[in-house]
């Protein structure tokens, strides 16, 4: 059935309530196109969403999905994928969801390297709770809870991922539709944890990290001739704090996914209607 799937099949009949112009529209469209393009169908795709404006993505897409609690989407995705490795698992959320309340899970999901795709809609602000500082907000960015700016350096999610042993790190921009789709597609096709930080501007609460800002400042790594399999080059780009890059920054093609290391291959939903064969041996072990 996959050959007939159109990207609109991933669209639910529910109209998004995002503010007009929100970057999340573009982020979602690119994800749906990437899913269709990589041969997935809504029936074998599982989308896990965080909490935030970004987390509403699960509502506007059509697939098997779970819209969970704040910050815990990655563990849910991990459980889904390990229980049924045949599913395409896509986890999505915001920068607050992923790098603040869920930061611990992020580090561990990265190092676990389960074969799923993690898309963070980074608008450098808390959208849903109406404009507080997020972990990626600039240190002088004035918000309702940080009237003089957070006065702390922002988290560098790419560096956090790299330091945690990521096997795939990319960054994209929701309004560059084609490149965004290509980048998400590369993450889906990556055998392991595909991490994409997407600049997805909040037009309501962030007047600094705007479309114009990203359009002017973003450098496409592809145009620069960056080789994502070159570890040193990747490290250099990731640590360059004053530059905004777009594209696949680091891909370890030799990394082994969690599933391969741990022999995960069964669809666990299929079980016998009584104790499994050989279960009595479990008792005899206690002789």
């Amino acid at each position: 059935m996959s050959s007939e799937v159109k990207f609109t099949d991933f669209k639910s009949d529910k109209q998004p309530t995002w503010c007009p112009g929100c970057g999340d529209f573009g982020t979602m469209n690119g994800m749906m196109k990437a899913l269709a393009e990589t041969g997935n169908s809504p029936d074998d795709t599982f989308v896990v969403a965080g909490i935030g404006c970004s987390g509403k993505i699960g509502t506007y897409m059509h697939s098997y999905a779970l819209h969970g609690v704040h910050g815990r989407a990655l563990p849910v995705g991990t459980g889904v994928k390990l229980a049924n490795p045949d599913l395409e698992v896509m986890v999505a959320g915001g920068d607050g969801d992923g790098y603040s309340i869920g930061a611990g899970h992020f580090v561990h999901a990265v190092r676990r390297n389960v074969d799923m795709t993690y898309v963070v809609m980074d608008n450098r602000i808390y959208g849903l709770t109406k404009g507080q500082a997020s972990p990626t907000s600039r240190s002088d960015f004035e918000t309702s809870t940080t009237p003089e700016g957070p006065q702390q350096p922002p988290v560098n999610p790419l560096a956090l991922a790299f330091a945690s042993g990521a096997s795939f790190i990319a960054q994209s921009f929701s309004s560059d539709a084609l490149r965004h789709q290509e980048i998400v597609q590369a993450a889906i096709e990556h055998d392991g944890f595909g991490f994409v930080n997407v600049f997805s501007p909040c037009v309501t609460f962030n007047d600094v990290d705007t479309y114009d800002y990203f359009r002017d400042s973003l450098v496409d790594l592809e145009e620069e001739g960056h080789d994502p399999t070159d570890r040193d080059a990747a490290k250099e780009k990731i640590l360059e704090a004053d530059k905004e890059y777009m594209g696949v920054i680091w891909q370890d093609e030799d990394a082994t996914s969690y599933e391969a290391t741990h022999g995960v291959d069964a669809n666990m939903s299929e079980i016998p209607d009584g104790a499994p064969d050989g279960a009595m041996d479990l008792v005899r072990e206690f002789y």
């Binding site: 059509h62 819209h67 815990r72 459980g79 994928k81 899970h105 939903s269």
Partner: protein
């Protein structure tokens, strides 16, 4: 003389107390004797006092008693800690060559065995505990050959030589006692641990929970280590994989329950286990599990709280949390196994209930069940009797009945029995979203007042359905016509059943109900009404279960509470019950 023999080995944590005790317990069990073990341990790896106690009899035993006949003391503290359980004719094995001078009360038999030297003679000082086991065999008149197989089991993978050395160490211990002390067979210390040809298995409650999970088709387990629940994870790891399953050690409990939730959404029978502090962390997601109507088994192996409390001590303090934990109102079932074999069966039942009613099920075990081992006939875990009921799962063919007029699947259809259809991912046309937000039949967010009420009532209706369809029974002991009713839940059952014998011997008549279900729970109102006095026995200070009984029967009940961190002992409980009866 007495056929009920109580034995213990104690020393510092790190002295190998646990494995030594286990070797002897296994030897007794393989020799066809009933065994019941208990542990005193501190939450330190080195430097804390630890003891492993073994009670054995040819009769069935289900609890510990306040008596020690033989003690292997590796430190003075072992003797001091156990003084109140030692009696006039107890024997104490110690190593007089060690630097401490053992202070042993005059009336007891001091059995000085050079454990270390004899172990060295056998091949290494490390075997001194095994020398002590050999000495114990001699004193208790237990054929030492029975020890051999346990030693093989324990040391087999270290090579033939190590096994042989250990057997030799045991024999040197036995020989030494025989040479120096004769058989120590006096009128008062005259044990002869007879063997039978019965077949027993020896396991603890955590292991029984893990075994029950595999039997029930659980294939995914995510957890984070915490005493006393860790054994469940350790048991499953290395075993569940043979059945196509996985164990994941998550970064914390928040992650563990979310992973388990994800696996359950993908169609796996999934579980997590933790203890009180971990349950606190899981509580946020617990609400999501319930609202998204996901079947999940969460085992809370209770320990003494609050906060980090006394991590290695017994308590039944989390009942209220299991019943009421979480914001908002959420239906959940709470099962509480009362014995080690019931840990197995209640786990199986928990999975069936979770899937049949699509809600989270708490399995409320406790430290006493988790860390003590007991012998059972293998048939107590009859795998042929395990049934797996997956509830209302719809496949590609059946799904049509559950699509709305626009062809969308309705995972939260407000059915008459409250139970909705479930479609595993991969089912054609079943794609749907689950959420912690209040939702309509499609699973989509709503704040519509009617839909909100419909979904709340639908979820609650599952409980009514379950009350009607399932048998929320009790286990009954004692005299059914007695005027005094004793009600218990969780691990107190064993001690209570044994206390009955003492009470009977004192001409005290009671009827005992042991309740394995907290919610829903059996209706005890007629039983309470028929009794003159009702006494609820539990290991907590406030009487959380007693409160529930009072709530149900609209009548005051009496309470026996223990919250010192130690489980009820049979003899002690008999005294407490008599006291409660006198007070009434």
């Amino acid at each position: 003389m007495a056929e009920d023999f109580n034995w213990a080995i104690g020393g510092e944590a790190g002295d190998g107390i646990d494995s030594t005790g286990k070797i002897f317990a296994q030897a007794l069990s393989r020799a066809g004797r009933h065994v019941f073990t208990s542990k005193d341990f501190a939450s330190r790896i080195r430097g804390g006092y630890t003891a492993y106690k073994v009670r054995t009899s040819v009769d069935d035993i289900q609890s510990v008693v306040d008596r020690l006949d033989l003690l292997v003391a590796l430190t003075q503290r072992t003797i001091d800690e156990n003084l109140d359980e030692l009696h006039e004719n107890s024997a104490i094995i110690y190593d007089g060559e060690r630097s401490w001078e053992a202070e042993i009360p005059d009336e007891m038999y001091a059995v000085d065995v050079p454990l270390k030297s004899l172990a060295e003679e056998a091949g290494g000082a490390i075997m001194r505990n095994v020398v002590a086991l050999g000495a114990a065999c001699e004193l208790a008149d237990f054929p030492i050959e029975n020890l051999d197989e346990s030693l093989e089991k324990r040391f087999g993978d270290k090579g033939e030589k190590i096994v042989e050395n250990n057997k030799e160490a045991a024999r040197l211990g036995k020989q030494y006692v025989q040479d120096e002390y004769g058989t120590l067979s006096t009128e008062d210390f005259d044990f002869e641990l007879e063997t039978t040809d019965a077949d027993y298995v020896l396991l603890n409650g955590d292991e029984a929970i893990g075994m029950g999970a595999i039997a029930a088709g659980c294939r995914f387990y995510a957890g984070y280590p915490i005493t006393p629940a860790t054994d469940v994870m350790e048991y499953l790891k290395g075993r569940i994989e043979h059945f196509g399953g996985q164990v994941v050690q998550a970064e914390d409990e928040l992650s563990a329950i979310n992973m388990a939730l994800g696996a359950a959404r993908a169609g796996a029978r999934s579980m997590t286990a933790t203890s009180g502090p971990g349950i606190d962390l899981m509580t946020e997601t617990f609400g999501l599990v319930a609202t998204s109507e996901t079947p999940l088994v969460i085992a809370d192996v209770m320990r003494s709280g609050p906060s980090t409390g006394m991590p290695t001590k017994q308590e039944q303090g989390d009942l209220n949390m299991a019943l009421y934990g979480g914001h908002g109102e959420i239906p959940r079932f709470v099962l509480a196994p009362t014995t080690i074999d019931e840990c197995f069966w209640k786990t199986v039942e928990a999975f069936n209930l979770a899937e049949k009613y699509q809600l989270p099920v708490y399995l409320l075990a406790d430290l006493s069940l988790a860390v003590t081992e007991q012998t059972f006939a293998p048939e107590a875990f009859d795998m042929d009797a395990v049934e797996v009921e997956r509830g209302k799962v719809v496949d590609d063919a059946e799904i049509e009945a559950w699509l709305d007029e626009e062809g969308r699947f309705t995972p939260h259809a407000a059915t008459e029995d409250g139970i909705s259809p479930r479609a595993f991912p991969g089912t054609v046309d079943g794609a749907h979203m689950s959420t912690g937000l209040e939702h309509n039949e499609l699973g989509r967010r709503t704040e519509d007042t009617d839909v909100r009420m419909e979904q709340v009532e639908k979820r609650q209706r599952k409980v009514d359905t379950a009350i009607e369809r399932e048998d929320w029974n009790v286990r009954e002991y004692g005299n059914p016509d007695a005027d005094t009713l004793v009600v218990s839940w969780g691990s107190n059952e064993g001690a209570l059943v044994e206390a009955l014998e003492t009470l009977e011997a004192n001409d005290v008549d009671v009827r005992v109900l042991s309740v394995p279900y907290i919610y829903p729970r059996p209706d005890l109102s007629e039983d309470v009404a028929a009794a003159n006095q009702t006494i609820v026995v539990e290991c907590n200070a406030t009487g959380q279960f007693a409160d529930l009984v009072e709530h149900d029967v609209l009548e005051r009940v009496d309470r026996v509470n223990k919250y010192d961190g130690v489980r009820f002992k049979a003899d002690e409980l008999a005294v407490d019950i008599e006291a409660a009866m006198e007070e009434a």
